[in-house]
């Protein structure tokens, strides 16, 4: 694949730093709220905050890609990673639930 690196104008650095920080914060908020809801440590409706955080995360990642002037391939990788990030905790939780249900009370633990 032909591939070029573009220089980033110095006036774009600050927006990149700020948006990167938001990426981290929204990413943590999604994982955090999702886990808290599944552990029943907060009310169920907080899951809405988890998905809103994920939506904001995708918007930030897309905008970050634009600021970095990434080529279409990397933009696809970034959005693909975000879809993975959305689905993954669900898969983990689903697997854990299934495994627990399968083995619960089935043997004495060590």
């Amino acid at each position: 694949m032909e591939y070029y690196m573009h220089d980033i104008p110095s006036q774009d650095f600050l927006p990149i730093f700020v948006i990167s920080a938001w990426v981290i914060l929204f990413g943590m908020m999604y994982a955090g709220f999702f886990t808290l809801v599944k552990l029943r440590l907060v009310k169920k409706y907080f899951i809405v905050l988890a998905y809103l955080s994920w939506g904001a995360l995708v918007a930030c990642i897309y905008y970050l890609g634009e600021l970095l002037r990434v080529e279409p391939y990397t933009q696809k990788v970034l959005i693909g990673a975000m879809v993975g990030y959305l689905v993954f905790p669900h898969i983990v939780y689903f697997l854990l639930e299934k495994v627990h249900n399968r083995f619960e009370h089935s043997e004495v633990t060590s």
Partner: protein, 478 residues
């Protein structure tokens, strides 16, 4: 946890020796890190006595060596417990321990007092190979290989003649890869690109593949020991984690091949697989918390509170330090500006601490509990101060380094185009210097936490509430 009549297995006694040296080397790592941090701000400090390059060598090599000590120790601790029999070849294991410790002592003395060589073949053999993190001279390399072969023999021979659990199966496969990769950093090449190409096989495929799998296995064991988590659940999940870590970690190696003269297709490979690397860490994070939530409601008490607390720090720290801080500068478009700045330093500090240091301290607490023969171990005040000061200290250190990294990236790379002049202008920038000042302050905080940690490891079994001793006494009588 123990052999017959509450006695420790010989293998577990050997583990305690490894843990002791590990904690001493941890102190050495922090001390030389402190010296290097002071030299960033006051370049004249110990100039021509212990230059920055030497302080840094000892800082990062002590880190790797103490973690390896703790890792070997943790395996010797869980091996007889899991396999249900004494470690085969434990005498040989003891001999290997003393040989390794003597070799490490000699290597450190050479680093401190000889420091540099003439840069010929003799230097590689006797002083240093000059490869970051694995700087041991070749004679020590060969010694390490022999010691590790003995260790592998002990693990395999013990499992083959004992019980075979899922945790041990994962560990057996992983330790072969972990040991084998070390060989990639042992031969000499006079081409820096080729040298870096192989060197990353050791460093990356250790910390982002085989060590992570090791952590998943030992973390599973700690979950079983501290929470009474269901073994089948833990082991089933372990296989999934292993597959994901290897799946993303092996080709994630690409992010080290962006700028060292390797072909450009590594940009795409590195971008894709590096972006996937945080994924299994989210899994580890959710898994540990989920198990805790599941087991909590059953009236189970946590059998070793400090170990579980450090395991929790590990899941958060691994996700943040290795996952988030790694992802921050792993895309080639970003890495073009950030590589070689304080950015990787920020990531490295939190990733090593979060992914490895925390879980090794958890394993050491299991050893402390087992040595005292206590059924339960509660958190003491000193233990609480240790975990708080060290964890908050490293987190703040990472934030400080990240702020310095922002400035350095902006000034040195963005404004000056990565020139030599840009390097010095960025180093003198007041915000950059302030960040490093905060790093020094947080370093002192971590050292204060280390003092509490050592004190707690030595005294926590004597400072437990009365019910702990009563429960342990009743268990021993039964």
């Amino acid at each position: 946890m123990q052999g017959n009549n509450g006695q420790l297995y010989e293998g577990q006694k050997l583990a305690l020796k490894y843990f002791t040296v590990a904690i001493v080397l941890f102190g050495a790592q922090l001390l030389f890190g402190l010296i290097a941090a002071i030299q960033f701000l006051y370049p004249g400090f110990l100039f021509n006595t212990l230059d920055f390059s030497i302080a840094r060598i000892v800082h990062i090599n002590a880190l790797v060596v103490w973690l390896l000590y703790a890792m070997i120790g943790a395996v010797y601790w869980l091996l007889p417990d899991e396999a249900g029999r004494e470690v085969v070849g434990v005498k040989l294991g003891n001999l290997a321990f003393y040989v390794l410790t003597a070799a490490v002592a000699v290597v450190v003395l050479v680093y401190l007092f000889i420091q540099v060589g003439p840069g010929n073949e003799m230097t590689t053999w006797l002083i240093t190979e000059g490869r970051e993190y694995i700087e041991a001279p070749r004679w020590a390399d060969i010694g390490i290989v022999v010691v590790v072969l003995i260790f592998l023999y002990n693990v395999y021979a013990t499992v083959m003649s004992g019980k075979k659990t899922g945790i041990l199966a994962v560990l057996m496969a992983d330790l072969i890869a972990l040991a084998g990769l070390y060989l990639a950093g042992m031969f000499y090449t006079d081409n820096i690109s080729v040298d870096q190409f192989w060197w990353w096989w050791v460093v990356h495929l250790w910390v982002e593949a085989t060590w992570e799998v090791y952590v998943a296995a030992v973390g599973g064991y700690i979950l079983i020991k501290t929470l009474n988590a269901n073994r089948k659940v833990v082991e089933m999940w372990l296989w999934i984690e292993v597959a994901m870590m290897f799946g993303s970690g092996i080709l994630g190696l690409g992010h080290h091949y962006f700028w060292i003269g390797t072909p450009e297709y590594w940009w795409e490979i590195g971008a894709l697989f590096s972006a996937l690397e945080p994924v299994p860490l989210v899994g580890l994070f959710v898994h540990v918390l989920y198990d805790w939530g599941k087991e909590r409601g059953k009236g189970n008490t946590i059998k070793n509170v400090p170990a579980f607390a450090w395991l929790t720090v590990e899941t958060f720290g691994n996700f943040l330090g290795a996952g988030v801080w790694g992802f921050m500068h792993t895309l080639p478009q970003i890495n073009l500006y950030t590589h070689g700045t304080q950015w990787p330093a920020a990531h490295g500090h939190l990733a090593f601490f979060g992914a490895y240091v925390a879980i090794m301290i958890a394993a050491i607490y299991l050893g402390v509990q087992g040595k005292a023969g206590l059924k339960e171990l509660k958190m003491t005040k000193a233990g609480w101060w240790a975990i708080t000061l060290i964890t908050v200290g490293v987190l703040l250190m990472t934030v400080s380094l990240t702020l310095s990294a922002y400035v350095q990236t902006m000034v040195e790379r963005g404004m000056y185009g990565g020139t030599w002049e840009g390097y010095f202008v960025a180093q003198a920038n007041q915000w950059f210097v302030q960040g490093l000042g905060w790093r020094l302050a947080t370093g002192l905080m971590v050292i204060a936490g280390y003092v509490f940690l050592v004190y707690d490891l030595l005294t926590c079994t004597k400072k437990q509430p009365a019910e702990v001793y009563e429960a342990s006494g009743a268990a021993a009588a039964a």
